[in-house]
């Protein structure tokens, strides 16, 4: 009898545990914001980019050039191009925007070393519903 009760309690406990786990595992937030944030190069130094900015104010180029993008939300695919040429990702980091120690988005740094001037474009598609695609462009001089 005791064995039977223990068995029922165990089954109940396991079921409850599963249901609790499945409800607490929230899905990754979709992509809601995507921006070019910074251009850094040997010749132009570090230039912060504002949301409304379409062209860099400094002349960039030299031995190294990196472009940083910020996105709020998770993406399943992301591509950065410079005049149509696909750039490689050199570094990335998760970010906690609201201070709750949960990852809200990401910063990505793209390697455009060897390039001088042209059109930078970053595009990403949301990992979850509504699976939207967002993009941002910046003319780099």
């Amino acid at each position: 009898m005791l064995k039977k009760i223990f068995g029922i309690v165990t089954i109940l406990g396991v079921s409850l545990g599963v249901s609790i786990n499945s409800t607490s595992a929230a899905s990754a937030p979709p992509l809601t914001t995507l921006e070019v944030k910074e251009v850094q190069s040997e010749l132009g130094g570090t230039e912060s980019i504002t949301a409304s900015q379409t062209t860099t104010t400094k002349d960039h180029g030299g031995s190294f050039m990196y472009i940083t993008t910020f996105q709020k939300g998770y993406s399943s695919s992301k591509t950065a191009t410079f005049d149509g040429t696909i750039l490689t990702l050199i570094a990335s980091t998760p970010v906690d925007v609201d201070g709750d120690t949960i990852v809200d988005g990401f910063l990505y740094k793209w390697n455009a070393s060897g390039k001088q001037s042209g059109l930078f474009k970053y595009q990403a598609t949301s990992q979850n519903s509504p699976w939207n695609t967002m993009s941002d462009t910046l003319n780099i001089q």
Binding site: A91, S92, V103
Partner: protein, 177 residues
């Protein structure tokens, strides 16, 4: 644009001089409580702090109280002097942006802005910010964790030297009195 007291020429000797006692810094690093054991063993094998003149760096920057431009300049100088790799330089730049209010200006929810604001005159404790961000990266199993660990440890070492220097100066002043 370069501002404040942190200057380029202060780092011109970084590449040419190699006066650091390797064993001393490795020992100090081993005693650090800021990293967990897994990260420590990774660092022991792969990170070489030998060429960094922490004493010189500590004279010119207080990583617990400096501006964004100063920490960016430190990063650039470490890269130019060959003390951090291109990947580490790129990652350090991201760690700075990840802790900068301007990055989130358009998306910050009300009430969560205070933690990004500098203390005074645009200065803030970047060492604390880097250490805090390292925890986020560790908990989310981020790529490039090793680069973050290294640059954060460099800031830790600079700060240790700044404290030593400060204590020495205080003792010297008291002795003169």
């Amino acid at each position: 644009m370069r501002v404040n007291s942190y200057s380029d020429h202060a780092f011109s000797s970084l590449k040419s001089n190699h006066l650091i006692d390797k064993s001393k810094y490795k020992s100090e690093y081993d005693e650090s409580n800021s990293l967990n054991n897994i990260t420590k063993s990774t660092l022991d094998n792969k990170i070489n702090f030998s060429n960094i003149e922490y004493g010189e760096l500590a004279k010119n920057i207080d990583v617990t109280n400096c501006t964004k431009e100063e920490i960016q300049n430190l990063s650039l100088d470490l890269f130019k002097s060959g003390n951090i790799t291109e990947k580490e330089f790129a990652k350090m730049g991201l760690l700075i942006l990840a802790n900068d209010f301007e990055t989130y200006r358009d998306v910050l929810p009300p009430g969560s802005q205070d933690r990004f604001f500098p203390t005074s005159n645009g200065r803030r404790n970047w060492l604390a910010a880097f250490n805090s961000h390292l925890k986020l990266e560790k908990s989310s199993f981020s790529e490039g964790l090793q680069e973050s660990v290294k640059v954060t440890e460099i800031l830790n070492n600079i700060d240790k030297h700044r404290i030593k220097l400060s204590s020495f100066n205080e003792m010297y002043t008291n002795h003169k009195k």
